[in-house]
């Protein structure tokens, strides 16, 4: 008899992703769903999606979800988690959402050590609005609002918010990964899983920054775009653990 070795996670709805070919969102959604399934927390998880391409994340993730205004996902999640500490609460945010309009909410939630899991998808552009410059856009990168390429002294330097968040006393675990190859996807899943575990153990603020491609707005093929993430974007935003202050839970210090 045939054995089923691969199936749709229970936490993922049977809907066709609307994302562009080569976009990382669909991979990351699936990883999230797999992790939620494996941790057995689907029935106590609440997600907060961002404004942007992933605003429709609730069409795919089969968990309770509450919308947030652009940039405010972590503040909304804070309200949910503080009222229901027994729930597992995550936000799903892009670079414009988290590192531009939501900078204050992000920094202060990390500083307070809010017990949340933040999935931060960095593709270096505002995808849904048509490819404008993001805080994470690389120097020289052409976008619809930097047609001649980003000039640091005019348009600002690429902002590495994750590194800043690692300095916040309340952040516990911050890792940067990518979803450009099977190897990186496996690493990303491990990081997402850990970011949920940190919350479930009540340790504090956990964030996974995932470098993701936007072939449509980068005007590249998916393969070229993935190569660019690994060879160019990852030199500006190096992959790896930026902070790990987790501890094994003990009776005194759970």
């Amino acid at each position: 008899m045939a054995q089923q070795v691969f199936k749709r996670p229970e936490s993922l709805k049977d809907n066709v992703f609307h994302y562009c070919p080569g976009c990382g969102h669909s991979i990351i959604h699936r990883l999230l769903a797999e992790v939620i399934d494996e941790l057995g927390i689907r029935e106590k998880t609440v997600g907060v999606p961002p404004a942007g391409c992933a605003v429709l994340a609730y069409n795919y993730l089969d968990v309770d979800m509450g919308e947030a205004p652009h940039g405010r996902a972590i503040a909304v999640a804070t309200g949910i988690k503080r009222c229901r500490p027994d729930l597992v609460v995550f936000t799903y945010q892009g670079d414009g959402d988290l590192a531009a309009i939501g900078t204050a909410e992000t920094v202060h939630a990390a500083n307070r050590g809010e017990c949340l899991t933040v999935i931060f998808v960095n593709n270096g552009v505002y995808g849904m609005t048509g490819g404008q410059m993001a805080p994470t856009t690389l120097p020289g990168q052409k976008t619809t609002t930097t047609p001649g390429g980003r000039m640091a002294l005019r348009d600002g330097h690429p902002l590495d918010l994750s590194r800043m968040l690692a300095l916040a006393a309340g952040s516990v675990y911050i890792e940067r990964t990518a979803v450009t190859s099977p190897k990186h996807i496996i690493k990303t899943k491990k990081a997402i899983r850990k970011a949920f575990k940190v919350q479930m153990d009540g340790q504090g603020f956990a964030l996974v920054e995932i470098l993701s491609a936007c072939p449509t707005n980068w005007k590249e093929t998916p393969i070229e775009a993935c190569k660019r993430v690994e060879q160019v974007v990852a030199t500006q935003y190096p992959l790896g653990i930026l902070k790990d202050a987790t501890h094994e839970p003990t009776a005194d210090n759970p």
Partner: protein
Amino acid sequence: MNKQLMRGSHVIAEAATRAGCRFYAGYPITPQNELPEYMSARFADLPDATFIQAESELAAINMVMGASMTGVRAMTSSSSPGISLKQEGISYMAGMELPAVVANIMRGGPGLGNIAPTQQDYFQATRGGGHGGYRTIVLAPCSGQELVTLTMKAFDLADTYRMPVILLGDGLMGQMMEPVSFPDPIDPADLPKKEWVLSGARGRDSRLIASLQLDPVKMEERNWKLVRKYDTISQHETDFESYLLDDAQLVIVAFGTAARIAKGAVNRVRGEGLPAGLFRPITLWPFPANPLRSLAASIKQILVFEMNTGQMIEDVKMSVGDISPVHFHGRPGGVIPTPVEVAEVITGLMR
């Protein structure tokens, strides 16, 4: 019942707690800082309550939004410039049909203005305040005791109609001390269960609370659905106070602090034999248009008195049309007029 002397901001905070509010997020701004201060101490003794001093008014209202999604009674408070910042969240909560109570202890404006009491945010409060064409219920207390009743009522209305309710006070209401008594506290566990909250999809389908609707036809229907709700509220929830209206020839229309000053003015001119009365809207939205229109038929003139340059007067004029002449006296900028000043205006109109 036991009376105690309390500052208005503290009264709101205590009344909210007794109404079962268990989440407060706010950001300091004068003249309402005593409200979050009181809340921080009061909630420290309640194991199921959360107080957060947020990094901004934006963060605070969005934290309230998240708290409300879990079904907890939640509130924030601020003063005029801070309320402008909260409009983003208020619009979203109107769209998502989330209950919350927002207290605005109004100060002078526009811009940074000053910290003196005004009623300059009437338009902002009664017209929705943010984007997208929605309404919020607006309650205008005029005494310490009414701060108790209206704060508690605000939470009931917010839950009943699933929408933000604005408690519209001013610097004077927030700072003034008056004797008040409180009803027994409500245990949040005794409140009606909310069937729409985010609580984890255990034994049921997953839920979504969102204002996004990309299909214009469905969005149109959602807009009309909100209108139907607003119509129901307009029919059932208008509230006002009548004072010496039976034989009145001039009726002064005023709310909040201005109404207290107006009441003093009415008493003064009554002493001189002039039959003036006071019509005080308690709900600013929905505005008590029908009772005011009925009243207008039996009187000679209306004087609208506001601590602004003329905002509620538009609702008064829409209510009474050509039935009665409508005059205006206003003092913006944080000037608190005396009953003598207002009495002189009434006398000038009646003699």
